[in-house]
């Protein structure tokens, strides 16, 4: 039936058997080009009618709308009629669709179709200075039809797709195309749909700024400001160019004009839950319209996403099975990995149930042909089929702005649809044909040639009279037996070539007296077989077969063994060990009674004292306080209570710490890349740490801006930040900044000092130019340079300098440089030789943030001494300890205790991890001591916090109990249980 239809591929086949696949591909575009409106006819005019009627089909016209026994009529690529009572036009070719289902064509909302060979090098034209900014590229201009993914996408039922430029940070503008083969000229449905953005750089575009996630985000931010400036600068220039310096002409910035005003969506490609939050944060600063290409982790953000109406495009790339082959392998798999393996298929279902709308994409799959399989998995674990269909049709159509022509099967819409031999959302069904804008594309042959059953074979010379029994196994492979001369022999091979209806079997002939293999070949016509055989030692034998028994129809529902879904995993945050269902509650009042309270304030250390925390803040420390009504009262008998410990220098809980693409990068911000999926945070809480200053790395003389966080385990990353904390920036002196790269300035301590000095001068000039323009408004508007902004703020002490340092000379050099520019360095970190310039530090007013006993590991650290903090303190320098190490941050009380051995009194020692630290970080109005009005951050210790024998029993932040020793023990058991259940499921799968 089908092979009589006019079809591009069949036409080609007629050209001749010898034509190669390569030649076919060469000819295909030419054939399709005959459709084009403007191209001249080449060869004979093709006038095959484009009118088709599909009758007796189950037609799903839209999610939830089914027509049984309906008909669909299309004419010249457009739907003419659809319904249960449709007149079939007399000029239509009729396709009998009994038993088949027709769906609207699927739309892939984020594909790389046509982008298989992206240009990595852009070497001409008015480009951006940064190779990662390619906003001016248009998918339709870059589109390469040859070798595109259309046929693979069609195999999964897709008829159109968003083509997304794949390289860079600003990647270019997307376009929707249909998935016929051929020139994009004929396939383009809509252009300029969105601007494609990735938060991190593409390696393919060469090494350079930005090398890190912080740098990527900073570059996006700067570029958005630049695009805004660019428009205004050109406007000013166009109005009256006289006397003005001509602004640069930058195609990429020009292309971002609509995006900056929110008129063109920014389509962010995210790789994990944190990247979703990172992308969304741009909306707080810019009027941009975000779209998200998700990543499968969205179920971890249901609360967040349901409050925001952000378009979501979901991949269905489920994780590989975790490695649990041996018990030792299993030890190495984290709960986050085990959980994600189990929960990833539930992602769409969970989102749909929360009322979050989404579209699907094949993006992220190793091969698009895994798509339907994974889709079925998602449906199997509970995704409603209508939601699934909506995510493939109406949702993407509406998102991509093609819903007037695509997404449903309605009169007047494009004739793009899928024909399946069953319910596509169930295992066992197949896509047969995909019609794209009226063009027929075969995906799977309907098995018209069925060789199964029992056949009686009669040969002309009776030499191979036999009975054949042909079966199909669960994987669809044929096998069987032959009964001949009283022997039953297993067939070695059975094959059917469906297109030609040819049938072949081979079996060994020895048992029936032949000296080799017997091979039968023939043609099937219904229940008849006509063939000949190659029999060893005989001439060719002709034979005839007759089917005596039809195959049994097997029930397919048992296939694709699926894992037991009885295990219900609760939503926890972070989605890993010790994750919690919600952050702890905040009792109105918490009263700790009869403890030794280290207030770290005027009240000193009080014995038999009570601490009252009300609504998250310290209300009072005193003796015999009366308990307010409903207060949570804790018996502190024998316990010690201290403020929550603070670490002045930490690098955990962020994605990457160094931006090394430039020596001076104060525009990058650690607060942009916080990551809650961080077991260290829990361990630090368990060690009594409540606050940390998370810092940029030491690769740059002027590094990035740091962030103050609290260990609010169970929160989203934004909620970790301490509101109202001052901005701080990392500087770095000495070995580290001078040894990054072989050709990056600086390479000596001399150069470190000079490049800092140079940027300070630049910033003063930048500031002056802005001030002038703001006063007189003359000339082009100045460009907002986030790097210079930050340095201006540094010089004005709106950003506090926290400088990595080792040797005394470099410390002194930065002090003197700051004095030249009339500002104060807030603190020197590490400062292994800070004690050597203690008087100078004290005089300048800089603090010191040092290790208890770290040193000796490199030449600039060789003169370390455990008396460093003590001597600094004695010289009148405000001094704190720090860890610079995730593990040490879990036991900062013991770091302070080492100072007692070095001769510091206990209260001062504890101050070095509480109040002095808070002062150096500019957050002593909030944390660091237990004084009225300060945050209710405290630790209950089993004993003296400076004893090796003591440990935290409870850690409270904002009047909420984030760590509790007994709860920790319960959670450990629950974790073991959950791991065990998941490992068992993986072993069963």
């Amino acid at each position: 039936m089908m092979n009589s239809y006019h079809d591009v591929s069949l036409q080609i086949r007629r050209v001749g058997k010898s034509i190669s696949l390569f030649a076919m591909l060469m000819i295909l575009p030419l054939t399709i080009a005959a459709q084009s409106f403007t191209s001249p006819t080449d060869g004979m005019k093709v006038n095959t009618p484009g009118v088709h009627a599909f009758t007796n089909a189950t037609i799903i016209t839209a999610p939830g709308e089914t027509i049984e026994n309906g008909a669909l009529v299309i004419r010249d690529g457009v739907i003419e009629a659809v319904g249960s009572n449709v007149d079939i036009p007399s000029d239509a070719r009729v396709w009998e669709m009994d038993g088949k289902t027709i769906y609207p064509g699927f739309i892939d909302a984020h594909s790389a179709v046509g982008m298989q060979n992206p240009r990595s090098e852009l070497d001409r034209g008015n480009l951006s200075w940064n190779a990662q900014i390619r906003a001016h590229l248009n998918a339709e201009h870059e589109f390469e039809s040859e070798g595109d993914a259309s046929s693979r996408l069609r195999s999964q039922g897709f008829t159109s797709a968003l083509s997304v430029p794949p390289l860079g940070i600003f990647r270019g503008q997307t376009a929707v195309v249909d998935l016929n083969d051929g020139s994009v000229t004929d396939r383009l449905i809509r252009t300029g749909v969105s601007q494609s953005v990735k938060l991190t750089r593409s390696q393919e575009l060469g090494f350079g700024y930005p090398t890190s996630p912080i740098g990527g985000i900073a570059l996006i931010r700067q570029t958005l400001y630049d695009a805004d400036w660019y428009e205004r600068a050109h406007e000013t220039y166009q109005n009256n160019p006289s006397g003005l310096q001509r602004p640069e002409n930058n195609a990429a910035l020009a292309a971002l004009r609509d995006a900056v005003h929110g008129e063109q969506p920014l389509l962010f490609q995210t790789n994990n839950d944190e990247e979703i939050l990172r992308a969304m944060r741009f909306t707080e600063e810019f009027e941009v319209t975000p779209w998200l290409r998700g990543n499968g982790h969205e179920y971890k953000l249901i609360d967040y996403l349901s409050e925001r109406n952000v378009p979501l495009i979901l991949p269905l790339n489920f994780p590989d099975k975790p490695e649990v082959d041996t018990p030792e392998d299993a030890l190495g798999e984290d709960l986050s990995v085990l959980r994600h393996w189990y929960l990833a298929p539930e992602n769409p279902k969970r989102l749909a149930e929360a009322g979050i709308e989404f579209s699907f994409t094949t993006d992220g799959l190793d091969n698009p042909n895994q798509f339907l399989n994974n889709l079925r998995k998602a449906v199997h674990v509970g995704l409603d089929k209508n939601d699934a269909l909506a995510a493939l049709t109406v949702n993407p159509a509406s998102l991509l702005g093609i819903d007037r022509t695509h997404g449903t099967l309605e009169e007047g819409k494009a004739a793009s649809f899928v024909i399946a031999d069953g319910d596509l959302f169930e295992n066992g069904s197949r896509v047969l044909d995909v019609w794209v804008e009226g063009h027929y594309n075969r995906v799977n042959r309907e098995n018209t040639t069925d060789a199964r059953g029992r056949w009686e074979i009669v040969s002309t010379d009776a030499s191979i009279d036999a009975e054949l029994h042909i079966e199909e196994d669960r994987r669809g492979r044929l096998n069987g037996k032959v009964t001949i001369k009283g022997e039953e022999i297993d067939l070695e091979s059975v094959s059917v070539h469906d297109a030609s209806r040819r049938f072949r079997v081979t079996f060994p002939g020895e048992e029936i007296g032949y000296s080799g293999k017997v091979r039968l070949t023939g043609s099937i016509s219904g229940d008849d077989l006509f063939g000949w055989a190659e029999v060893p030692g005989q001439s060719r034998v002709q034979w005839k077969g007759n089917r005596t028994e039809l195959p049994e129809e097997s029930d397919d529902s048992s296939d694709s063994a699926t894992i037991d879904r009885d295990l219900v995993l609760e939503d926890i945050r972070p989605a890993m060990e010790y994750g919690v269902k919600s952050i702890p509650s905040q009792p109105q009042h918490v009263l700790v009674r009869n403890a030794t309270v280290w207030t770290m304030g005027e009240q000193g250390v009080m014995e038999n004292a009570d601490l009252l925390v009300t609504r998250g803040r310290v209300a009072e420390v005193g003796q015999n306080l009366s308990a307010p009504r409903n207060a949570v009262v804790i018996d502190g008998e024998g316990k010690h209570v201290t403020p929550g410990l603070i670490d002045a220098h930490l690098h955990s809980g962020v994605t990457g710490v160094n931006e090394i693409g430039n020596a001076i990068v104060p525009e990058v911000r650690m607060g942009d890349v916080l990551n809650i999926n961080n077991i260290w945070m829990y361990r630090q809480l368990a060690g009594g740490l409540t606050t940390a200053h998370v810092m940029h790395g030491s690769a740059n003389p002027i590094g990035g801006q740091n962030v103050h966080v609290k260990m609010r385990w169970g929160s989203l990353s934004d909620d970790l930040k301490i509101e109202g904390a001052p901005r701080t920036v990392k500087f770095a002196l000495g070995e580290n900044p001078k040894r990054v790269g072989s050709d990056r300035y600086p390479e000596t301590r001399m150069g470190v000092e000079q490049i800092i000095s140079d940027r300070f001068s630049m910033a003063r000039d930048y500031e002056a130019r802005w001030n002038e323009w703001e006063e007189n408004g003359e000339g082009l508007p100045p460009r907002r340079d986030l790097r210079m902004d930050a340095i201006v703020d540094i010089l004005n002490e709106d950003i506090l300098v926290q400088s990595h340092s080792y040797r005394q000379d470099e410390i002194l050099a930065l002090i003197r440089l700051a004095e030249d520019f009339d500002f104060t360095i807030k603190a020197f970190h590490h400062g292994v030789e800070a004690y050597k310039v203690a008087p100078e530090l004290a005089e300048h007013g800089a603090g010191a943030v040092v290790w208890s006993d770290w040193g000796g590991f490199k030449i600039e650290a060789y003169d370390n001494t455990t008396f460093n903090a003590r001597l600094l303190h004695e010289a009148g320098v405000l001094t704190s300890l720090h860890s610079d190490n995730s593990q040490i941050a879990t036991r900062m009380n013991w770091e302070a205790a080492k100072m007692v051995r070095a001769g510091v009194d206990p209260e001062t020692a504890l101050g070095m991890v509480t109040i002095y630290t808070a002062q150096l970080l500019g957050i002593d109005d909030k944390v660091g001591s237990l004084e009225e009005g300060k945050d209710g951050d405290f630790v209950i210790w089993s004993g003296d916090p400076l004893s090796t024998l003591s440990k935290p029993e409870q850690t409270w932040i904002d009047g909420r109990k984030y760590f509790d020793l007994s709860q920790d023990r319960r959670m450990r058991r629950a974790i073991e249980r959950e791991r065990d259940q998941l490992i068992q499921l993986i072993l069963e799968d």
Binding site: N864, P906, T948
Partner: protein, 427 residues
Amino acid sequence: MKSSIIALSLLLISLAAVPEAEAQTPAPKQSEPIALTGGTIHTISGDVIENGTILFEDGVITAIGTNVNLPSGTREEDVSGKHIYPGLIDSWNQMGITEIGAVPMTTDVNEQGPVNPNVKVERAFNPESRWIGVGRSAGVLTSVTSPGGGLVSGQSAAMMMDGWAWDEMTLKSGVGMIVNWPNPNNDDNYTDAIDMLRSTFADARSYMHARMAMENGGPRHDFDTRWEAMIPVFQGERPVVVSANEVRQIQDAIIWAEEEEVELIILGGRDSHMVADHLRSKEIPVIITEVLTSPNRSWEGYDARYALPAKLHEAGVKFAIAGGSSAAYVNRLPYEAGAAAAYGLSIEHAVKALTLYPAKILGLRDRIGALEEGMDATLLITDGNPIEYATQVEQVYVQGRKSDMMDMHRQFYEKYREKVDQRQAER
């Protein structure tokens, strides 16, 4: 609080009024009998003796108790109110063979190639390393310095933390043969590496037999420096100290050592609690190399490493607690045991894990690790339990030498304290 800080600063200034930075000169050998009297003597192997006397002559303890007759000429030191402990033992580090980790020319840890049983750390031990003094003033009086790298790294030695040169500082050479158990994470590589280890031992053993045969009149067999160094291992005179952390490494090393019939000590032992029964039944001890750290698997308790010594103790496995590999951090050794004490191990056993236990495990029990007559007078005078942070180590003796308590940490402090004082005086 501020006023108290100022007061304390003044106090500290007066305390710090030691005149000149000292030269950290090695102490002369003990020349007269010394008796420490009135202190609390923690013998470790026996009872705690309150108000006791410990007498030592020529570097060796000659009497200990509450009623000790002092020979004439004994120098008496009243240590009333103080505590006396045996010197602490760091049973694994790289003291004296590495100075600054990031400066390769200052490290002599990893010899070239995978099999180096013949190298001996004491012969490369730098007596001028500044970490020796740092360790001494933290109470670490013996360092079992160990080579690293490759498969068979070489021989460790027990080094005393006072002396002019390595020869007089060597308490015992050839303490252990260090072996690095292969990484099991890649099956093929693991197989190859274990095969190599087995064939190395087989080659060494066949050499030993060939040499023995030669001595008994058999054919001549030439000398092999590397295999010669293995003979004491096969003769049960030198344990094999196998670095093994992951559970497979530990258990596979046990089976291997049993087949090789060599004495095994597990070094590292991160997962050793998982196979504690196996270790106990074979009487294999563990030198735990890192207590003050976190587990490397997210699902393990935050205190998994702190609690490991207590778990081994409860399971009846013999163990010692060592510091880290870096000599610069030798002063942290007491805190490693301290963390174990916070998480389930008694203080008594925590102190033993730095004294008696490593001495027994490493064959040094006759000399150090406890205070008994006939043992070395290598001891500390403190104001408290040595694993507690606040405790001050006031004086140490190393084989009866009264060591200089100055070290580079303190020397830098005193030098730059002088700068602070000068600046304040100038003002």
